[in-house]
């Protein structure tokens, strides 16, 4: 057993406990305009602001030490399923910090930002080709925001053809929680679609639902490959069933990494899809955001796009605000522009020659992990997986009282970030392992060796796992207590 990859440090103090009156952590710009009487201008001013007062070096030590007890991709293997934790190339960080990108004001005239429009249009064109959709917009700022935007387009489309009676969205039982939540956010009611024993969409049940209330179905939200890590072989048929009933089909693109350069959702029959550029196209996750949620769509949904629509016309790229049928604005400005610069840089680094490597090697890595672990953690389905494999630890729970979560926590002691647990909800004691294409065979072998060893520990010394992680930073944390005490901020001494 290794001691984990994260460094030890003294018990971290809150920044507020390090504050001393009169200190400051930066050299604030000196004001050289005349003094004024603030009260006469802005009214009564406050005297109750409690912010910390910290010297610059101590500020850096605070965050450097905290970074040492935080796990990132650059710390070690991070096989969090459905999250596509691939390497985030450093060149992307450099290009996004170029002054000509970082210092643009979103309300400066578009005539002054031809380079920015070139980036946005460039990303759109490459994503059109990769997804097979004729139109891409980069305005959604995160994956769930992209789902919501797609459903808004569907809603507006149905309104435009006099079918506002379509108020139901079908969501498979294996779907990400954002799918039903986004549908609810658009005023739809949600009905589930079951998964069959092979891990595919249950076509009999889907047909029954469509026969029963098909005229009220607005859309089906389908993740392909599914959250079971399986490609939906009946995808064309499913899309046809929905279209025959007058519904639309949305593709949740969280798993696009399995398809890049190999197959295109636009060709499968989908009407629209969202992408997570922070997954598939390597913009960094940043500890939970920024996300970046492009969407692709077929031409019948195009009139309803949020403005501005960035598109080439007459030899130049324009920002088209003349969108009479638009759903309206969905976020403050253009979307996550500096994330688009990173995605553009990433896509141009691969180019047509290498872009398919993304799907090919991510699928190779996932199948390799699946094969190496199958004796200790059986796959949920006996089929080749796509970019992630879904395994079950059910037998350890039944026979040794060890849950998937215990095994995951033990992985931290071995220096690995745990995979996703308990999702999809339909697989008991589930592990969702997504290695991505950027990991070496050696790393995968070390990880698989660790999991095999931990599965043996589950049999021999189950309490070791119940108590994991046993690192010096902090032991297993009490999430129930957190809800009970609800301490979500520090308070100044009164």
């Amino acid at each position: 057993m290794t001691s984990g990859r994260m460094q030890l440090m003294p018990e971290p103090k809150l920044i507020f406990d390090k504050s001393r009156p009169g200190r400051i952590g930066c050299n604030v710009p000196v004001c050289d305009t005349p003094e004024v009487d603030f009260t006469s201008i802005v009214g009564e001013t406050r005297n109750d602001l409690h912010l910390p007062e910290i010297a610059e070096l101590d500020l850096l030590r605070h965050f450097t030490n905290l970074s040492h007890i935080n796990f990132g991709i650059e710390t070690g293997f991070y096989p969090l399923g459905s999250c596509t934790m691939k390497y985030n190339p450093k060149i992307n960080e450099q290009t996004a910090r170029l002054a000509g990108f970082a210092n643009l004001h979103p309300l400066q005239p578009v005539e002054t930002i031809p380079g920015a429009l070139e980036i946005l249009n460039g990303v759109q064109e490459m994503l059109c080709e990769i997804t097979g959709f004729p139109t891409i917009t980069l305005q959604p700022v995160a994956g769930a925001h992209g789902e919501m935007t797609c459903l808004m387009l569907v809603k507006k489309y149905h309104e435009s053809i006099g079918q506002s009676n379509r108020t139901i969205v079908l969501v498979p039982d294996s779907a990400h929680g954002t799918n039903p939540a986004s549908a609810a956010r658009c005023g739809y009611s949600v009905k589930p679609v079951p998964t069959d024993a092979n891990g595919n969409t249950d076509l009999v049940s889907l047909a029954a639902s469509l026969a029963e209330f098909g005229e009220n179905v607005a859309a089906l939200m389908l993740t392909n490959p599914s959250t079971l890590g399986l490609f939906e072989p009946n995808i064309e048929k499913i899309c046809k069933m929905l279209h025959d009933a007058g519904g639309q089909v949305f593709c949740d693109g969280a798993n696009m990494n399995a398809m890049v350069g190999t197959t295109r959702p636009g060709d499968h029959g989908f009407d629209c899809m969202h992408l997570n550029l922070h997954k598939t196209f390597s913009t960094p996750h940043g500890g939970g955001g920024p996300g970046c949620g492009a969407i692709g769509l077929k031409s019948h949904l195009e009139p309803f796009l949020p403005a501005p629509v960035i598109r080439p016309t007459g030899g130049k790229i324009v920002a088209d605000y003349d969108r009479p049928q638009t759903i309206g604005r969905i976020s403050g400005f253009y979307g996550q522009f500096l994330m688009e610069v990173r995605a553009y840089t990433y896509l141009r680094a691969f180019g047509k020659e290498y872009i398919a490597d993304i799907s090919r090697y991510s699928v190779l890595n996932a199948n390799y992990v699946r094969e190496r672990l199958k004796d200790v953690l059986p796959p949920a389905h006996d089929r080749p997986c796509m970019h992630e494999c879904i395994l079950t630890a059910e037998k350890y729970k039944k026979e040794h009282g060890v849950r998937a979560l215990d095994i995951s926590k033990r992985l931290i002691d071995y220096g690995f970030h745990p995979p996703t647990n308990y999702f999809p909800l339909i697989v008991p004691e589930c592990f969702m392992i997504e290695p991505t294409e950027t990991e070496t065979k050696e790393t995968l072998d070390e990880f698989c060796d660790a999991l095999i060893a931990i599965c043996q520990e589950a049999i021999d010394t189950p309490d070791l796992l119940h108590d994991a992680p046993s690192m010096k930073i902090v032991g297993r944390l009490d999430e129930t207590l957190a809800v009970k005490t609800l301490d979500v901020r520090w308070w100044p001494a009164s």
Partner: protein, 443 residues
């Protein structure tokens, strides 16, 4: 391609363990008519790192950015001082390349910074508590309105027309999709007085408002109470270092845009939405929230994401919002900013903004411009020009200035009005030059 590390020997060894002859075989479940051959997509050819940097540098140079123009444009996104420590911290791979802290024992560093973020945002707004961030100020405001609807049950949302027009557009989109009615009430002379809020779930005011004027929040609180509606304030966090906090006036929900706190303008994204509320409403709050706890088997403190049963991955269609990914890294930037400046630095930035703004007003008045809604403003004001504001703005670009935002596109009859922002980083010399250039353009 260095991002994909497989050697031919690796691939061969791995395929042999899997028992497949080729990588293609792993894709056998995809119908063959749906496959494209590797290398067949019509996208540009690969660029090596040297050429890639040169290519992006060339594209960036086509923009006229705010290192080439002196920026007097604000309207929600501000050209402010960013301490060097911000980039140093958010570039650390342990933060930059982490995922959402679903495994708290491996994410204590980030979780603690979020707890600190929540504390400082709450302090600035004078509120009980904050969530871990939202997408941006505009979507924060829309989420706040929907939260008020969830609490009050009423379907009417009342918003002042002196709230940022883009924020109101986003509100309209969100409310349309969920079937809520938005009523916009007019401001008079830069102040919102008549709320007409009967039967409303909430009333929404901006502080300082879109025109830079400081709304009377005590009166807004009274209007909300009279109507039985919640009071939502969209507040500039930097202004709140100087002005009395919205919380001190009894606001129920305070939201805002965190970009002015250490985040590059970046054509407006990524930025960070701030979201705070009174403690009694915490179970209705959208998004993630971090809480302090301790070990199951010990006494050491630690941090976890909490009140998780509000969220989409657990509650699905009954969640308080569909938000999943937020803006953690940008919230970290704001955290570093609030610590680096601290109590005195943030107050100084706010005071300098007021001083510079007053100086700019005096200079523009001296060349014959009129300040439309009075001079009692924080860091931004509306100036009425003798000709089209758009025309003036365009001419000012050739003189090296982003002069402000022409308001004619947003408000009827305001074609000659320009919204001018003056932050703490503008110098007396720049403001003098701005006024001189403006004088020439107006001549």
């Amino acid at each position: 391609m260095p991002y994909v590390p497989h050697t031919a020997a690796d691939t061969e060894a791995m395929l042999s363990v899997i028992g497949a002859k080729s990588i293609d075989e792993l894709f056998r479940e995809i119908p063959s008519n749906l496959k494209v051959a590797p290398g067949s997509l019509n996208i540009p050819s690969a660029l090596d790192e040297q050429r890639l940097m040169a290519h992006l540098t060339e594209i960036a140079a086509k923009n006229i950015d705010c290192t080439k123009l002196t920026c007097f444009l604000g309207a929600g996104i501000y050209d402010r001082y960013i301490p060097a420590t911000v980039s140093a911290v958010i570039s650390r791979g342990e933060f930059l390349t982490a995922y959402t802290p679903y495994q708290p024992e491996a994410s204590q560093g980030y979780l603690q910074t979020i707890y600190e973020f929540q504390t400082m945002v709450s302090e600035l707004y004078g509120m009980d508590l904050s969530n871990a961030s939202m997408y941006d100020g505009a979507t924060s405001m829309a989420e706040a309105a929907i939260m008020a609807h969830g609490i009050k049950g009423h379907e009417k949302i009342v918003v002042s027309d002196a709230v940022h027009p883009h924020y109101r557009q986003v509100l309209a989109t969100y409310c349309w999709s969920i079937g809520l009615e938005v009523v916009t009430v007019p401001s008079v002379n830069g102040q919102t007085k008549d709320w007409n809020a009967d039967g409303a779930a909430c009333i929404i005011v901006q502080y300082p408002n879109f025109f830079g004027n400081i709304e009377d929040l005590a009166a807004v609180r009274k209007a909300a109470d009279d109507a039985g509606a919640m009071m939502i304030v969209v507040a500039d966090p930097v202004a709140c270092a100087l002005l009395k906090s919205p919380g001190s006036y009894g606001a129920d929900i305070v939201v805002g845009e965190g970009q002015p706190m250490g985040i590059a303008m970046g054509l407006g994204g990524p930025v960070v939405g701030l979201f705070t509320c009174k403690k009694e409403f915490v179970r209705h709050i959208p998004g993630r929230i971090v809480g302090k706890t301790k070990e199951v088997h010990g006494d050491r403190p630690g941090y976890v994401m909490t009140l998780r049963t509000r969220e989409q991955d657990i509650r699905r269609e009954k969640a308080t919002s569909n938000i999943c990914t937020n803006e953690a890294l940008m919230a970290l930037a704001a955290t570093v900013y609030m610590i680096a400046l601290g109590k005195n630095g943030m107050t100084q930035v706010a005071q300098s903004s007021v001083r510079n703004t007053q100086y700019a007003i005096s200079k523009l008045k001296s060349i014959g411009a009129t300040v439309k809604f009075g001079e009692k403003v924080f860091g931004e004001f509306v100036v009425t020009l003798p000709k089209s504001a758009t025309e003036v703005r365009d001419k000012m670009i050739s003189k090296g200035f982003l002069a402000g935002l022409p308001l004619g596109g947003y408000y009827k009859g305001m074609e000659n009005d320009l919204l001018v922002a003056v932050t703490e980083i503008r110098t007396r010399e720049q403001i003098d030059a701005f006024a001189s250039a403006m004088k020439e353009v107006l001549a």
